[in-house]
């Protein structure tokens, strides 16, 4: 890999990013459209899922079936996601089919058919998605946690709310697409085997337009409750816990990442050792860094049988609180090696790189090179991590549980 980033900006402001990878025959691309859950009008929670489905049900001069067939014929591994800030649509494929795939995605984004009958089906699937969350408490607890932790509407569920989905109309959804598919704020990224000049010419031909005004950011509300419990007669209590930390733009960002890695980077990290290995309280236990542009936190999940739930939560909070008391040189070294290694291992995948460079650009306004990230991780140490932790003590924990028994958050 060359660690070189290609960049081009269309006259309308749409940003094109690329990362060439020498060793691969595949290419991956994604369009980040500013239509994430937090940017939707109030009362439309879940509209993002409906939109992501609806735009792929016929576009350009193809109906839903014809569009699906031609995408399948190219062997595309399609991906789409609805996040807090964006709807991202894209694919991974053999490099030779890239130009045809981009033509089709231009149709999906710019010329979706948006037929009324297809809207009803897309909405029904979105409603089913919300109902199915009840059978997946682990995913549900983390969605609920984000909703409670982030100030509204940042943590709004991308999956949706039943009542709001039921009230959603085709007309309203069309208006959201018109307002939010703003090319001036869209980021396109590509990674793997591609010719950047050819890609730029094609994207320019397909997507160049008048510059559009920025729709503006949502105004932030307050955080929701400290502890939320949802009753479910399942086998385990699913515990989600989150506490605030610095954003990716902060100078202490890498100290925060190393600290989270000491807590939960590998199997020798604190949470795994104290909760699972020494006490046998859980099978699944882990914490990770989670960031939006506006706020960030450390997000933790544990699943345990009801009688062990309180002890599990207490031990987890104790580990968070004791982290600033002291960290050994060995622990920091393992945390750093783990972070650097996962960075390089993920750099071999075209999909992973296409996602990372676009995410960087959105968060930071530029793409970090792998060398820069490595250097910043290298520069952290016991002293800097402890100074960060002591200056940013964990205090407010947002906790959500789903299961047959409540816990007490002390």
């Amino acid at each position: 890999m060359t660690d070189k980033i290609d960049k081009h900006v269309l006259k309308n402001g749409m940003v094109l990013l690329g990362e060439p990878m020498e060793a691969v025959g595949s290419v991956a691309f994604g369009f980040m459209l500013p239509a994430g859950a937090a940017l939707l009008p109030d009362g439309c929670c879940g509209a993002g899922s409906v939109i992501a489905e609806w735009i792929s049900r016929g576009a350009g001069d193809r109906n839903s079936r014809q569009l699906g067939d031609v995408l399948d014929g190219l062997g595309l591994a399609r991906s789409r996601s609805v996040g807090s800030s964006h709807i991202t649509v894209g694919a991974a494929l053999e490099a030779g089919n890239l130009a045809q795939a981009l033509d089709l995605y231009a149709d999906i984004i710019l010329k979706p058919s948006l037929q009324e009958d297809q809207f009803e089906l897309a909405r029904q699937l979105a409603i089913d998605g919300v109902l199915s969350l009840d059978d997946d408490p682990r995913q549900k607890v983390m969605l609920k946690l984000r909703e409670q932790f982030y100030p509204g509407p940042l943590g709004r569920s991308p999956v949706g709310e039943i009542a709001e989905l039921k009230a959603l109309t085709a007309e309203k959804t069309k208006q959201i697409i018109k307002d939010n598919f703003n090319l001036s704020q869209t980021i396109f990224s590509v990674a793997g085997k591609y010719d950047f000049d050819a890609v730029c010419q094609q994207i320019e031909r397909l997507f160049e337009s008048e510059r559009q005004e920025n729709a503006g950011q949502a105004s932030l509300g307050s955080k929701a409750g400290k502890y939320t419990h949802l009753d479910n007669d399942g086998a385990q209590v699913h515990i989600g816990l989150m506490t605030g930390t610095v954003k990716p733009t902060d100078e202490d960002y890498y100290n925060a990442r190393v600290a989270v890695s000491v807590l939960s980077g590998g199997m020798s990290a604190r949470l795994f050792t104290k909760v699972r290995e020494e006490r046998g309280l859980c099978y699944a236990i882990g914490a990770r860094y989670h960031a939006l542009k506006e706020a960030a936190g450390i997000m933790c999940y544990a699943g345990t049988t009801p009688d062990k739930a309180q002890e599990t939560l207490d031990v987890i909070i104790q580990q968070f609180n004791e982290l600033g008391d002291g960290i050994s040189e060995e622990e920091i070294q393992r945390a750093k090696v783990g972070l650097e290694s996962s960075l390089i291992l993920s750099s071999e995948s075209s999909s992973s790189r296409a996602g990372s460079i676009a995410g960087d650009y959105y968060m930071l306004g530029r793409v970090r090179s792998l060398d820069e990230i490595k250097g910043k991780i290298e520069a952290t140490g016991v002293d800097s991590a402890l100074a960060f932790l002591r200056g940013n003590k964990f205090k407010d924990f947002t906790v959500v549980t789903i299961g047959p028994k409540q816990v007490t958050v002390k």
């Binding site: 699937l125 086998a235 090696v337 290694s341």
Partner: protein, 409 residues
Amino acid sequence: MEFKKEQLDNGLCLIGEVNKSAKSAAMGFFVKTGSRDESGQVNGVSHFLEHMLFKGTDKLSALQVNEAFDRTGAQFNAGTSEEYTVYYAAVLPEYLLDVTGLWIELMRPALRDDDFNIEKNVIKEEIAMYKDMPSFDVMDQCRSLHFDGHPCGNSVLGSEESIDNLKSEQMRDYFTRRYAPNNMVLACVGNFNWEQICSFAANSCSKWRRQAVERKLEHYDGSKKKKRAEKSNLAREHICLMSSGLSAQDPRRFAASLLGIIVGDSVGSRFFWELVDKALAEAATMQFGPMDGTGAFCSYIRCSADNVAQVLDTVSGIFQSLSRDGITEDELRKAKNKVLSSLVIKNELPMGRLGDLGSNWLYLEKYRTVEDDISAIKAVTIEDVNVLIGQFKPGDFTQLSIGPGEKNG
């Protein structure tokens, strides 16, 4: 790519595919033992044993093991299936020798009683976790119903009761019989020095003692039983269908895998257009699962309880039309493109390549290049797939569903 192979006197196979342009390397021990090799008294022991290997050796405590792995920055883990148990790691090239050395040590674990007792709790938590995942639970229960006494129906996790009753001596005995060098393969992929890994492994593993190992191989057509279970806290109906398929050794497995894609890929398949596109079901997939000496097609469908009858009618219509008219040229072409493209993308990563390299060796005792697989997929004809439909009758299935309330699934 360069393929390398060496077999030690005790039967341990060392294989490698060297790719000097990769930025990482991956390695794994593939042990040919899984829940199908267990008797009823020790159900769950293969998976429990997989956990216990992380607990260390006579010289290493569990914490020291975890620390040693984390010092290499490895992405490492292990997994147990009905068929085999695999221990793997992906690392930067300079750490491959360290991480291989560590796994070699762990292949001769201490299996201490204290660790066994505390890990029992973790295993029981894992069983509880999967109980809260009905999409997993329904497949697990359907497999047991389908294989109905055949060892391939044994649960990988075991039950709370079988784990409670398991004794550490039984685990040690199972370990001695199954973790014999002649029942294992060490595979390495990516950027690494073969001679170095090979001589290191030869030195360290040559003391391991060969055992007489066997596995019962018997094809089984499946029970075709139908059953429904209720769980009051569920919101959706989870349906699993299983029908007979061919084995991992059968050259027609590529045609079977394409049939799975045509019927039940997550997008663009017959299930997709008839069930998901029409919003009758939220998820509907079918996959071909080749196994040692036998195989199965397995479908998973999730829908509202109100739609169950219509969904099952539609499924039965799809299978009837398949057996009456077969597949189309266009369906086969699209399925091939999808499979070929995902094969290429997966194999670009050493960790992605490791699984195929190791499992091909376990099942076939043969090296197959990615190009061999690509050619085999390209060579599949409509007749090949249609003959399979006629022979295996995917519409003649075992059915298990789990859902809420009182409905007749």
